[in-house]
Symmetry: C2
Subunit: 150 residues, 2 copies
Amino acid sequence: MMETKLNNDEYYMKIALSEAKKAFDEGEIPIGAVVVYKDKILARAHNQTELLNDCTAHAEMLCITGAMNEAGTKYLRNCTLYVTLEPCVMCAGALNWAQIGRLVYAASDVKCGYSQTGDLLHKSTIVEHGLMASEAESLLKEFFRKLRAK
Amino acid sequence: MMETKLNNDEYYMKIALSEAKKAFDEGEIPIGAVVVYKDKILARAHNQTELLNDCTAHAEMLCITGAMNEAGTKYLRNCTLYVTLEPCVMCAGALNWAQIGRLVYAASDVKCGYSQTGDLLHKSTIVEHGLMASEAESLLKEFFRKLRAK
């Protein structure tokens, strides 16, 4: 049977998780993201707020800018963004401007997630969540547990 | 009588407007911003979404990143951001993360301004608006009038 990566959400979420693990190893809050267009990865990134000393350097923001740079367009209408944690208000606002076609996030963020504020995304954006949420949450919990123990 | 720039909002808003004019001349939506800390300009920028092919390259975002880079900190607690148009949801989200001390915007944005969604800013942020709003609005109207005439 032929294996296909096409529309394989788990495949891409695993890549987002591997980005989150990179962040973990670098002492950054472990969140990772990937932007995919027709089975091609346009950008992958992890949170770099500490390294860059920049509160806007979230995985999603770096991924959106990277994907636009790669695609040569300021819209990501037919793209999917996979991210390990529900985007914040800033990132949701950016995804709205990008008119992202589809957003798939793993864990929900009951404190800072955009959905606490309302539906900030573009009306055409399809949203799915919960895929590999426990893996994403475990990584975050482990990070903050270690941080508190310091 | 000694002139002082200290706390001179009009002085800094004029600089934000001069940034907006640069954007106008470059065919970008004319919005400009400045971040000031203790009478020192940490960053000034104008909208560059077209040039950079990046929907996140708003004047405020470029200014926030620039100011953090200049200040070497990922918070802008004692800074003022001057911007010629009310920030959008994305930029308000970024200003929230930055914990900006004070936000002064000229024109209101009844369509895309963050205040349409709610109070997205940090609880400690002081907000003022309306300063030089007519100049900022005129520039935007002229830009869109020319754009439609093309």
